[in-house]
Amino acid sequence: MSTAEATAVPPATPGGPAGQLARAPGAVPGWLRLFRSELRLVFRRLRNLALLAVLAALPVLLGIALRLAAPRGDGGGDAGSSFISQLAGNGVFLAFIAITLMIALVLPLAVAVVSGDSVAGEAGLGTLRYLLTVPAGRARLLAAKYAAIVVFGLSACCVVVAASLATGAALFPIGPVTLLSGNTVPLGQGLLRVLFVTLYVAAAMAALGAIGLAVSTFTEHPIGAIAAVLVLAVVSEIADNIPQFGAVHPYLPSHWWLFFDSLLRTPIATSDLLHGLLSFGVYVVIFCSIAWARFTSTDVTA
């Protein structure tokens, strides 16, 4: 389709020195082009699409299971999750239930796969040496990689929430949302809170993604990096549940993940949310710095 303009341009190219191309007016900025290429790589990869499909399927299965269980569990003797009792009244709550369950393992898994693979995968394939001799620029490549990880994490959260809302709407009544604190807000405000929950969890996944990026710069074996990130996330979650480690709990990467439920109360416990966001931000800064320091100073022998 672009053959007309494509064939029109080359005659000018051989004449001028290569350097002049850099300042061609109207060109897509170089950074954006690499970022777009990264996104394409992540989102066209069959494995990553399969991950997103699983993320979309789980809320559907969850919704069906809860729908089947709802009439029987009338007595409320069920493990007493206030989320689940809310669900019977409103399908929007399926989004919160799904996020709560999936943030424990499935969402971190998706982010671990993409972030652990980011640099180690290129090193393993050998494409890293080609990208760097192009030259992509080490810091620039790392920035594009991290941006793609953040976008993938956000997409994963959005997929979970969208699938939950669709399933919830199909299987349960939709209407004004009764919050965990007992008050009822209109549907519009309920959905707005869903959006904030999604963004908060995406920020949590961005922090985990930074850890994955850093781990990924230390190895040529993507599977090793992915496993390491996942183990780290799980260990953090376990440690967070051991009371004797109470002193370090606030510093664990997973500690603030579930604090999104502050958004489901009135008034919203903003200090918890801000603490969480601060923790995520600190993790992003520290681990992106580690990734940068490692990646820009290491020999690429893969």
Partner: protein, 354 residues
């Protein structure tokens, strides 16, 4: 005070002069001015690649490259030779800023690497240690990915440039095929195509024919020749002597991390001494005659006697043999076998089939 002052001045002056005097030998730096390399075409300033004192010691303590002083003239096809493990790939990785040198300097097209890598590498195309691409992407998508990584490339011409590069290596008809399904020769050619995505001044090819069948090897060799006709400098590494002998103007020979020879192919041939080979039915008498002529290193084999020619003329040897009554069935002074010279330089044979 004054005497002491002049003394130190003289001392520092002498010290300062020493590296300056040594520089032309080690390969002049970017400031060397108009003095082009000996075989460089006129009008092009400076060599394409120079390194001085280039050394790489890996963390394990292994000394991969030791005090290397490469000088690749502009417009040359430089054969970078050495057995596997002699440090060629590590050197190439240092030239391209992938591996940081422990010591020494690299100058690529007059710019320091890795310092100015971002500025100079767009003018350099490369294939490093075999092709490596995303197996699940097509050949065209793989090139698009590499082009997207180049911040100085014009995205508006990307499609046309990618197709031109594919066409040049003969892969246009397989552009939509996944890289996974490519044959080894096609993979190798796709790697060369990444180097041709835009006009380059220097192409660095690390073992471009490794693992290829004779047909593929010939194709790649033809491609290298064609690239070089545009005045592009080509550095091609190989452990196979036969490959470079046919296409190179210059060679550098590595042995265990050190450069043991650098110069033109003729200079290399000149290093070996020519021999005279006589076919005869009287090897004993022939050997005696050659001894009488003062020739060294006389070897007798079945119906053949050979010796180092040194400064003797073949005509005189033939006459003396005939006068001595030796029946000469044939007399030859073959050019020295490059293979033998290499074995002498590197201390071990080049494996023939990779």
């Amino acid at each position: 005070m004054s005497t002491a002052g002049t003394g130190t001045d003289a001392g520092t002056g002498a010290e300062a002069a020493a590296p300056g005097a040594g520089a032309p030998e080690a390969g002049a730096g970017p400031d060397a001015g108009p003095r082009a390399g000996p075989a460089g075409p006129p009008g092009l300033p400076g060599p394409a690649i120079t390194t001085s004192g280039l050394t790489k010691r890996f963390r394990g303590g292994q000394l991969a490259v030791d005090d290397l002083g490469l000088a690749v003239p502009r417009g040359s096809i430089y054969g970078f030779l050495g057995p596997n493990g002699s440090g060629k790939t590590t050197t190439i990785r240092m030239l391209l800023g992938l591996v940081y040198p422990t010591r020494g300097r690299v100058s690529l097209l007059g710019e320091p690497v890795p310092g100015a890598a971002a500025r100079v590498l767009p003018r350099v195309g490369s294939l490093v240690e075999g092709p490596a691409f995303y197996p699940y992407l097509s050949g065209r998508a793989n090139l698009a990915r590499m082009d997207a990584a180049d911040r100085t490339a014009d995205p508006r011409t990307a499609a046309a440039r990618i197709d031109a590069a594919l066409d040049r290596v003969g892969l246009l008809s397989a552009a939509k095929k996944r890289y996974r399904a490519y044959s080894l020769g096609m993979k190798q050619r796709l790697a060369i195509a990444t180097g041709l995505l835009r006009p380059r001044e220097l192409i660095i090819l690390d073992e471009p024919t490794n693992g290829l069948d004779p047909q593929g090897t010939r194709e790649v060799r033809g491609l290298i020749r064609e690239i070089a006709t545009d005045g592009v400098t080509v550095l091609v590494s190989s452990h196979l002597l036969a490959e470079v002998e046919q296409i190179c103007t210059h060679v550098g020979v590595m042995r265990t991390g050190r450069l043991v020879f650098q110069g033109t192919l003729d200079e290399l041939r000149g290093q070996g001494s020519r021999r005279v080979v006589i076919r005869t039915t009287q090897p004993g008498e022939a050997a005696a005659t050659l001894t009488a002529l003062g020739l060294a290193d006389i070897r007798s084999a079945d119906g053949e006697v050979s010796a180092q020619l040194a400064d003797q003329s073949p005509e005189r040897i033939c006459r003396e043999l005939v006068l001595a009554g030796v029946g000469v069935a044939g007399l030859d002074t073959p050019r020295p076998n490059l293979e033998d010279l290499f074995v002498g330089l590197t201390g071990e044979g080049f494996d023939v089939d990779g």
